[in-house]
Amino acid sequence: MIGVSPVATKPDIVPLWCKKVSKWHGNFLGLNDVSLELRPGITALLGSNGSGKSTLMNLIAGQLYPDTGSIRIFGVDPWTWRGKHLVGYSPDLDYFYSSWSINDFLMRMACLAGIESKKVPSLVNEILDVVGLLSVQTTLLRRCSLGMRQRAKIAHAILMDPPLLVLDEPFRGIDPVGRRDLVQLLLKLQSSGKTILVSSHELEEIEKLTSQVVMLRSGRVVSAGPVSRARDRLLNKPVEIALEIESAEQIRFLAQTVFNYSEVLGVHLPEGKAHTLMVLTRNPEIVFSYLVKISIENNIPIRRLEVVDEAPAEVMESLFQG
């Protein structure tokens, strides 16, 4: 099952389990009472700057310790060395051992990760190939471009083949071709059963990756789940319902009838779609039932009835504005 849930239940069997996690940075509450459960698949972590994304990711990766609450990765505390086996983290930092080459960096990190020394060179080559750094592996990290260092971080995250990947802004600084490759890589990792939490402001890429989002605002999870749920719960923004019927002649009658309901904010007929009616409402469930009732009473066969989902970009835009 792919998805996220704000309610934590069984810490031992879920890839990521957070319960009432809060974290203070001095006098500033960086994360406030966050409860979250992540299941295999890709989940996007969205929020404006300072919303607590990096704090949450650092907590999940065991770099910070929660002031209250607890975090478990398959039941293991990520702060402990055992927990580090289970999470691969690509942080949003750009500090490296600058005198090392990309290959040196990964080889030494693999040694520290306890990978058998005989297997390290072949494993590192394999990972470098996966992230597209094989041909530049001898380049010193201080001479690498931002995009190359980003890939090196991602290579570091997947080095130990952990079940949970936490990627903080992985698309930052990567060129369009590299982004496409990274999207493909993440989708491939998802299909192999990994749980991936990825934060980004590159919403185009996020849309290609997943429709599951966790939204943070001022250190709180304001929504977790599909983008549509995020929109409903977060923004209190009207949604559009698309209604498609068999007979184009009855569309105006239907529009007039449904407009009389107080829950309906507006209706319009999209250009070039004679059989479709768009209904704007804040309460799609009730309007759904009205539409079904009208169609039965007036014998109007419905071909399609659905909420027109919004893209994460639009939701994010609304979120930031809000």
Binding site: K84, L93, R108
Partner: protein, 343 residues
């Protein structure tokens, strides 16, 4: 058992990765090297004047005369009393023995003026912190500590592995520096080196533990180191204690204050104070061992310093105890470090 395996793996890996990563080009290294050259130059100039003995020192209450003059007077007296064979023989014996003693007095002179004061009081702590503070301090300041913390090994193993990785550098630099000074001083220096290299090595290990702890667990490690090297030892020596503490309290964060308090109050001030206060400094125990070693040869280095109160074994135990205490404290505090504000 699983923890132990992981601990050993962590120590081994950290040691292997970082043993040859010690930075010899950083600013503190050049400060250390500069002070070594400076002191070596002074030692060489003293050696050229052949002054590693008591010849040029003046006996108490005899203004204008030094020991050499006194012996010359005895010899002149012996010549003047040449008609009395017995008195002349006694005078010749006294002057001969005194001359012999003066020639052999290089050990206490070199030890008191170079090893006890300059080396143990300033150079050795500076050399040790050059590498020890950088051990994990550079990782913290360079924000690369994250990469170590993301690995599935206990933090204690990273701490121990890193400590073991810097230790050879500390010992080589400390003993190497001592050897350079000893060679510059000639036979007296080389004799002192042969006699005292063990306590110097032990003191450098203890200092390494203390400064490694500071670098790993206290913020602004370089500030501490530089403050120690320049402010404390060089400049503040001439300022009154009140102004020192006012300056420290006003300008420095709490952690730096603790480090400075240790380096300055414990090591420098207490180390030179009479009574049992000096027993709180690392250098005191190194001096105790040296005192005992030279006493075994019949040379009393410093009367009334209290260095005879501790046996060599006790002094060694104290130094190792201090090293171990800071190692354990470091492991404890290092295990609780959170990496904030990485971006």
């Amino acid at each position: 058992m699983e923890f132990l395996k992981s601990f050993i793996l962590g120590v081994k890996s950290t040691l292997a990765v970082h043993l040859f990563r010690a930075k010899v080009g950083h600013s503190l290294f050049w400060v250390s090297a500069g002070f070594l050259l400076l002191v070596a130059a002074v030692v060489v100039s003293v050696s050229f004047k052949n002054q590693w003995n008591y010849k040029t020192l003046k006996p108490r209450g005899q203004a204008g005369f030094n020991f050499k003059n006194s012996i010359e007077m005895i010899e002149a007296g012996s010549m003047a009393l040449g008609h009395n064979a017995g008195v002349s023989a006694i005078c010749s014996a006294v002057s001969g023995a005194s001359s012999g003693l003066l020639i052999q007095s290089g050990l206490p002179v070199f030890t008191k003026n170079v090893v006890f004061s300059v080396l143990l009081g300033f150079l050795l702590p500076l050399w040790c912190l050059t590498f020890a503070v950088e051990g994990l301090g550079s990782e913290r300041e360079g924000k690369t500590l994250f990469w170590l913390f993301s690995k599935p090994v206990p933090r204690s193993s990273i701490y121990v592995g890193k400590f073991l990785a810097i230790l050879p550098w500390v010992i080589i630099w400390s003993l190497g520096g001592f050897f350079v000074l000893a060679v510059c001083a000639g036979d007296s220096g080389i004799f002192a080196f042969k006699l005292f290299w063990q306590p110097i090595a032990l003191a450098s290990i203890t200092y390494a533990s203390v400064f490694f702890f500071m670098g790993a667990c206290l913020p602004r490690a370089s500030l501490i180191a530089l403050a120690y090297a320049f402010v404390v030892e060089t400049l503040l020596a001439s300022i009154t204690y009140a102004s020192v503490f006012f300056f420290m309290g006003a300008c420095l964060p709490r952690a730096s204050l603790i480090a400075l308090a240790y380096a300055f109050v414990v090591e420098t001030l207490l180390g030179s104070m009479p009574g049992s206060l000096k027993q709180l400094s690392v250098a005191f125990y190194a001096r105790c061992i040296m005192f005992q070693k030279s006493s075994d040869l019949g040379v009393v280095l410093e009367q009334g310093g209290g260095y005879g109160d501790f046996s060599q074994t006790m002094a060694i135990c104290f130094m190792l105890g201090i090293a171990l205490m800071f190692l354990v404290a470091g492991i404890f505090f290092f295990g609780k470090i959170e990496l904030r504000g990485q971006r």
